[in-house]
Amino acid sequence: MARPSLTRRRFIDMLLAGEFLALAAAVLYPMFSYLFPRASMELVPREVKVGPPDEIAPGSAKLINMGAKPVLVLRTAGGELRAMSAVCTHLQCTVQFRPELNAIHCACHDGKYDVAGRNVSGPPPRPLEPLAVEVRDGALYVKRV
């Protein structure tokens, strides 16, 4: 009689290995799920109220929170209001407006943007994410575009 290719011993070995893998998965899956943060609902509001528009003088800027993300609201020397994400596009540091340079600067790796948020020097690969400004009922609002 020919030996069956799947012996009883090999069958039981495979069964045991399968059980071991299932046990490992049963232990590891809850561990990984426990450690992984739940996807947040990204509670970023569609718009946020900044305050009275003349609070920001020409050639100055203000950082506000839009959900968990910082937003830069600045008024150019010419008086125009602009808003953009304050998160540097290089490695996500928070940028600042520097009036003496008339530019937006990220101190982490010396990235520079102009007052329109366009990356002009240093490592940032993209412009800052633009946001819309709106003056309504005597108050300044920043809105997602």
Partner: protein, 353 residues
């Protein structure tokens, strides 16, 4: 030889034959040169970090609301707290000096050649663990520097192909650096990394006992000295000097505590990482945002990973030293790495800020 109490103990433990063997073991005579004391020095400094770290943990509160104030209290109110905290911070600097010096001398002496490949690999693992200790520990005071160092450092996880986003969120415990990040870094710093370090140190030291100290390529002298008392005495002298050096550094040049982290504030001007992360930092600063259409930080991180891998795999590609010849290629690779790391660090500190 043994007192009665010691004999009673050893009748039960049975460790004396092992211990006396270790103490009497012969050590190659060139191990008396200072290069061969660096590993022991790193071990001593690691134990010192464990001691000061345990003391700090007694008064530390790992939440964004309380962390900064609790470190401030240790520095300002707890008796000798200023010393313990400064010794932990400066001890980390001195430990990194010793670890890197040990790494470089071991590399250039080609001490990794067979049969010591695993000793070398456990050492590389320890270097990684020490870097993770420094990185996670720097967040714990929760000051402005800590916050941005962690924000940038963790952000680099995003550049890992395919799993970057998931990795980033797992490390931070959320989208941004916050309370979950602090909790994770704390657990890593005081539980996981110490366990990993102790296991690796144990393996590393065991392997050194098993294979003995390596002799440099071309060294023919078979002369040796007993481990005890000759090498033990030199180790002890170095360790006492190091303890003094850490205390003096801590007293004269303590690590300051910055203003409490404010996620809404911009990154402060002139922010820069510790000296041991400077080569990576300055490279990230120089590499443009996009290199030939590829994400700049990804290019930089791929470069760091390749350099680390080439060093870690030295025992497997450096065939010359295994044959007892001069490891010309390994030395060229070593010198090139050092020129990059030292050169870019000097540039980083010298350039106008």
């Amino acid at each position: 030889m043994l007192g009665r109490a010691a004999r009673w103990l050893d009748d039960r433990l049975g460790l004396w034959p092992v211990l006396s063997g270790l103490l009497k073991k012969p050590v190659p005579v060139h191990a008396k040169t200072p290069f061969y004391l660096l590993g022991g020095a790193a071990l001593f400094l690691f134990l010192l970090q464990l001691a000061t770290g345990v003391l700090l943990a007694v008064h530390y509160h790992p939440t964004p609301e309380a962390a900064h104030a609790s470190v401030g209290r240790v520095m300002g109110e707890v008796p000798f707290g200023w010393l313990v905290r400064a010794m932990h911070a400066r001890g980390a600097d001195v430990l990194m000096v010793m670890v890197l010096a040990h790494l470089v001398t071991t590399y250039f002496l080609a001490a990794y050649r067979p049969p010591r490949e695993l000793t070398w690999l456990t050492g590389m693992g320890l270097l990684l663990v020490m870097g993770a200790f420094c990185f996670s520990g720097s967040l714990l005071p929760w000051d402005t520097f800590a916050y941005f160092a962690t924000a940038v450092g963790t952000e680099e996880a995003r550049t890992v192909p395919w799993v970057g986003e998931a990795l980033l969120r797992a490390v931070r415990g959320g989208e941004t650096v916050g309370a979950p990040t602090l909790a994770r870094f704390y657990v890593g710093h005081v539980v996981l990394l110490p366990l990993a370090a102790l296991a690796l140190v144990g393996l590393h030291v065991y392997l050194i006992q098993r294979h003995g100290m390596s002799r440099p390529v071309g060294e023919t002298s078979e002369e040796s000295v007993p481990f005890f008392p000759v090498v033990v005495m030199m180790d002890a002298a170095v360790w006492v000097l190091l303890l003094g050096a850490v205390v003096v550094l801590a007293a004269l040049h303590p690590r300051e505590l910055g203003t409490v982290a404010n996620p809404l504030a911009p990154a402060p001007r002139g922010i820069r990482p510790e000296w041991y992360f400077t080569p990576a930092y300055e490279t990230l600063r120089i590499v443009p945002g996009r290199v030939a259409g590829i994400d700049g930080p990804l290019v930089a991180n791929a470069f760091f990973a390749i350099v680390a891998l080439v060093w870690a795999m030295a025992p497997f590609w450096d065939r010359a030293s295994a044959r007892g010849e001069r490891p010309v290629l390994a030395r060229a690779v070593g010198v090139a790495t050092l020129v990059w790391a030292v050169g870019i660090s000097m540039y980083s500190y010298a350039r106008p800020q």
